[in-house]
Subunit: 187 residues, 2 copies
């Protein structure tokens, strides 16, 4: 079966407290709704930095979350000189330390991960697609650099809708782009 | 069977003429021999740039070649705002225009490609491994982000030795690194 692809560039989620440190009382505005219901690209950007390197214009994704998390690619991690673990979003076990700079302040904390490949899905879709009880699937991008991605974790929530997320290393390496329809299957 | 992996970061090959434009009469020194016999990382670096962005410290690989060629990743191409084709090294058909800056001059020409995935091999190894008559193979990186790469082109020359080359998008996306032993197979 085929599912919609989203290729995730480096981005950040913020807690209420960390948001206030960086941006004060300014509201978090919506620039663009994302495919996942309620999620949006906000009008706020930060700089993420280490001793080695900084990336400017890293988009804050909304809404505010219960954890602050910076998601980057392995390629980004080499530029920054850090070694973040591959993690499910929200799992900051062993996360790499990074500094987040906003217009009003900065925060340094171990909150940087490389997100695993994952498929967003809601329980109804999971039943319909026969994916109940399955933890990981595979996805195949067909292109001039055809690639089969294993280790795609299924992330279920009532709030989700069916969408495959790859980071820029995987997306660009396979010449895939946001909006593509990608074949997924049980390995 | 398993083969040695080399992950190629962005780099450049230069003709004698273009080398002289950029570096004059300074000799091209060897910093490190590469796995492919006679190939080396030189002591020279250039800046590559477009209207959108520049990358400094791009390594010149030696020896001097019959063509000038800039090899980048798809991720680099987005940063630079260009759309280079996926090509065999040496095939500059449709290559993207880019500016190369050295200490003594600069060159702008359509010489930028994204190299295809490829396996270097010599005729003896090709016979031994049963790859005669095979144009493309697949390679599987086993990691936390296990990935099967199709479209790995076989490049045969008497001057080559067995080595798989992936760019940084593919290498980093699959968490592979130079020196890893990677399984290859006929698809």
């Amino acid at each position: 079966m085929k599912v919609l692809l989203g290729v995730s560039n480096r981005h950040i989620h913020l807690t209420e407290e960390d948001y206030k440190t960086l941006f004060g009382d300014e509201p978090l505005g919506v620039v663009k709704e994302l495919v996942q219901p309620g999620q949006f690209a906000s009008d706020k950007k930060v700089t993420i930095k280490t001793e080695k390197r900084a990336f400017e214009n890293v988009r804050v994704l909304g809404p505010i979350r219960k954890y602050t998390q910076v998601e980057i690619s392995k390629t980004d991690s080499f530029a920054l000189g850090i070694n973040p673990p591959i993690r499910n979003s929200g799992d900051l076990d062993g996360a790499a330390e990074i500094t987040i700079v906003g217009p009003l302040g900065e925060i340094t904390k171990p909150c940087c991960i490389i997100a695993n490949r994952h498929l967003h899905i809601n329980p109804t879709q999971r039943k319909e697609l026969g994916l109940v009880g399955i933890e990981k699937i595979s996805a195949k991008v067909v292109s001039e650099k055809t690639t089969l991605f294993e280790d795609v974790f299924i992330k279920e929530s009532e709030d989700f809708t069916l969408e495959l997320h790859l980071d820029t290393d995987d997306g660009n390496g396979s010449l895939a782009k946001t909006g593509d329809e990608i074949e997924i299957f049980i390995p």
